[in-house]
Point group: D2
Chain length 345, copies 4
């Protein structure tokens, strides 16, 4: 998921409605997160040095934008409005990811919310079964009138060998078994880049796990909490997911396998964690990015990332689709990311 | 192409023939390039600090290994011998890559060979045509008795949309047009990671190109030479190949497209440059790496790399196959790498 | 000047008065800037990730400390109170340095204060004369009942050759002449480490100077302002000061020369800028740091820094003394630092 | 000691004798180690990529230079010849430092020489006494007809408080006691920069010490050897020397103290190890560097370094003088550097 594009729509407002008044010329520079087409921008590294504008001016800017949006929406292309809303939902999950990370490194361990709103549910303790699929010529990708991001299209045929995917994501209890079996200390389980990261970053557990008097806890948006063996493991990287699958004698599903299996059962996941797939994030056959700044939004990140499917407890309700393609670099762990196993039949 | 595995076979010699005598116990540590299964190894960064063993001892070691190999080959598994030879051929191309690079940064601009042995041939000046393919369900990958590396198997079905690939690689003359049109200065042509590399590394031409009194020359293994507009461009990264294709209004072929088109015409390329494809380097369906150190040779690099197809003027004669998969990270330029365009029909 | 020791005194409060109540146990970790004796601390690099405690809790903490201080001061050792206040004055100047820096990198160029409170005064346009001194056996360093920091003692004899120091600091107009004469482009003027910094950091003017339509402006705490040729140059590093002096055919004074010359005229500087000396920051003969955390305050920084003397427009009124030793690394520019020339007689 | 200036004299040869023929124009670029006045140079970082010129050409170059020197010496200014020879002696010690370092990181642990030529002698086991000095007005620095480097002049007066210096350098046995007492784990013993280096570099013993089955050995130019408790400790940094002195309740001598004490007893050290002093490497009053490239040789390094006095077993016989000033940055350990203690009387 590409960070930072809220203002694509805002910025296009003046194009659609000539009555729009720019709040501050310099904000275009200051709040341009990564759009080359929009012009120069403040260096990302130096953002932490920004102490201004102050909170009052930010609030006024927010109201200014809200007012402009409210006035403009009736005149805007509804497809553009929907893209803006969907994209805003992506930002809301990214904000929760960032908030969780930044609170987790604060030695005061502050909490974001009092309740367990973003916690994931424990699963039935019985071992999950396998969803079998006969493979063959299948279709994946979005088609039709409903909303989708550009990277979900066009719908196209893929040929699959017969395969099975697990009914449920890998749990924390299973991950504990991987750890106890030396999973983080055995190079033969890892991709070369993954093993290098294990060593330089000192990985020996999922992000946010803490060992406390022989008890495993994990930092949550509502504070530290016991690790429940039955809940899906979360905040693992692609490298870790891949190593786990190799340790388990299975593999990760491709995104095509994931999608056709999910379409079969009619839903897109447990909804608890995004699930890593073994597919690199690449354009579908015939993919064409949109023209202008909106076109930078997905296509230019199609290298060195892997696709995740499904959705998480921090995703906006109704946000995800069976065709939805999330993506992160293979070492990223701060997304709400877990995994599901697959195997050849 | 993964660097450094010559001694896989050497190391297995003692397993096969108990008469093998180890030359020096510590060489196992010193010359282990990256095999985790073989044990610890000298840090790569510190290799340039090694002044010993001296050249005489290295020569004796070489003779020792040659003698052991000559004595062992009749008793070795012929498949293992063939893998060793094929792998040695990969090293020979890698050595030429490294020699070219290290000579190029020497201000004395020394030459490796006097003649033009590794130069590429200029092509017919007429514009290349397109090889059309109807797509549909095709098969790619190695099958049968001939040699292949493990990553070329198993042969499997892929579904392709109708496409065309250019008859010939992109030339230096075409690349000059890309440069003259601001190709290296227009962010909209580049993947995000590519544009970042352009800026940090200061890319504005292929590796080894030098501008000299308004003339373009390139550093070759036989020294600097005029850039011929008709020869295939070489030493460009995936990022550059991808940007060029976008600038040209075309795209790179997938590795499946490349392979079925090459199979159609019965050969695997002009043989001048390895050709970048848009496919990430990933395992084929059903791929299983070999057991032991040999299994580290390909599988553990299957992330953050792109596939190249064909072969170069520095490849050993007869080395390449239509199913052969070379691979490098998207910013790598020191391979003999060029590109061929493709488009949807 | 060593950053960050406000809480030396706060932390010692419990020692003196048993009634002190700790506000929050974790703040001891969170706000420990660099005191090893006080225990572990939050990594400096990660400070910008701290979003909590919030402003209300910080305000309550501030009131808590203020109340505890007010209640404790009558019972505290007056010497300790004075050290705390003097040290707090150092922090106030450091805060102004940091505020100026952080506002200067904000593209909105916000101002800290409306007026010119921290601006330096222009000087008489006549060339400054030289204060001559016959050298010989002199004494420097603090002695007597008045306050001083530990690094100013003990008073001791030094032997000086006859010398002169300029009556006034180097001005912006003189610095312009240095720039115009290629001062930042001529390696023969620079210390080796200074020249390396010029090249890597791209120095070609004092910090905060901006060129705008052939006019030089400088960023001030009250916003950008014209560079006045007659005012002392400010925000130059030791490397720059040293290069300027070499260019001018003079040299920087030692701290002993500076102090005896200042003592002669009865004041410690123009008060506009701290003045670099050629003296490394080292302990005086017989120097002994205090026991405990207070002892970390000065002594442990006595390497790789140079002494500045005098005081700046951002120093608290009455803060400086003729014996006062400020210190920064040779590449530091964000202090209010200028220079005065010296020569042998 | 500044690395790399052998060719100052060589380069000046053409100036003195018009018959000199330049061997290769490009060598001036290739072998310019750091002289800005001589022109551009090959980047230091990239030196390990240089494989040419080959050993035969280097040998021919060497003979060319030797011949030119032999022919020129009779016509050269004898003072320049002496400077060249003295400087060459510095290089010879630097070469031994580099050879020792590069062999020490080779896992084969090769030896440079078979015998113990560069080993230091064990000292009498009796505790050393103290050499007392009454201080007062003393003179240091070179004067007279004998050779000295420019940084040793001019001779000048310094005022010293009464002090004592130890008769002998600190031994390995004493250093073991420091280590056993947690010397490398107690921040209160260290300068701030030293403690940071201890942590990032993982220092817990002198450079080249190895622990082997509870025995301490050290890597020497003739290979690993038992650490003798009675020999002077070697290969410790200024940071370590300073921490040791603090631990021992003493201090390091200033360079002035060292020199006047050495002059008293009539020799300049045991000759086993260079001895760190607490003095920063700065110009003496009235110091003027020579004009031209020779002037870059010492003066431009006068910042962020500390002075060492004496000489080591790797110094050329007769090289050192009681006024000789060697210098290295405070974290450098690869020089043959130890320490001697001092105290106020």
């Amino acid at each position: 998921m590409a960070p930072g594009a809220l203002d694509v729509v805002f910025r296009d407002v003046p194009v659609v409605t000539s009555r729009h008044r720019v709040f501050d010329d310099q904000f275009c520079f200051l709040f341009n997160s990564y759009y080359e087409a929009v012009g120069p921008r403040h260096a990302r590294m130096d953002r932490s040095l920004l102490s201004r504008p102050g909170i009052e001016e930010i609030s006024r800017y927010r109201r200014h934008v809200d007012d402009a949006m409210a006035a403009s929406v009736p005149r805007l292309d509804p497809a553009l409005v929907e893209l803006g809303l969907q994209h805003e939902e992506q930002h809301q999950e990214l904000l929760l990811m960032d908030i969780k990370h930044v609170l987790s490194v604060n030695p005061l361990r502050p909490t974001y919310v009092p309740g367990e709103r973003y916690a994931v549910a424990a699963q039935p303790s019985a071992s999950p079964g396998w969803l079998d699929h006969n493979g063959g010529l299948c279709e994946i990708g979005h088609v039709g009138d409903g909303f989708s991001f550009d990277n979900e299209a066009p719908r196209h045929a893929v040929h699959l060998v017969p395969f099975s995917v697990s009914e449920r994501p890998v749990t924390c209890g299973q991950w504990r078994a991987f750890m106890d079996d030396g999973g983080y200390r055995r190079p033969e389980l890892w991709l070369s880049g993954g093993w290098a990261t294990v060593q330089t970053a000192g990985w020996d557990r999922p992000l946010y796990w803490l060992e406390d008097d022989d008890q495993w806890t994990q930092f949550m948006l509502h504070g530290p909490r016991h690790v429940d063996a039955g809940e899906p493991v979360c905040h693992v990287s692609y490298y870790e997911a891949d190593a786990y699958a190799r340790w388990a004698g299975e593999r990760l599903p491709t995104e095509a396998e994931w999608e056709v299996a999910a379409a079969d059962v009619g839903h897109c996941s447990s909804g608890d964690v995004w699930e890593w797939t073994s597919s690199a994030y690449l354009p579908y056959p015939g993919f064409r990015p949109a023209v202008g700044a909106i076109g930078e939004y997905n296509g230019k990140f199609m290298v060195n990332q892997h696709v995740l499917r499904g959705g998480s407890g921090a995703s906006a309700p109704g946000h995800s689709r069976v065709t939805c393609r999330n993506f992160f670099p293979p070492a990223a762990r701060w997304a709400f990311s877990g995994l599901r196993l697959a195997r050849d039949r």
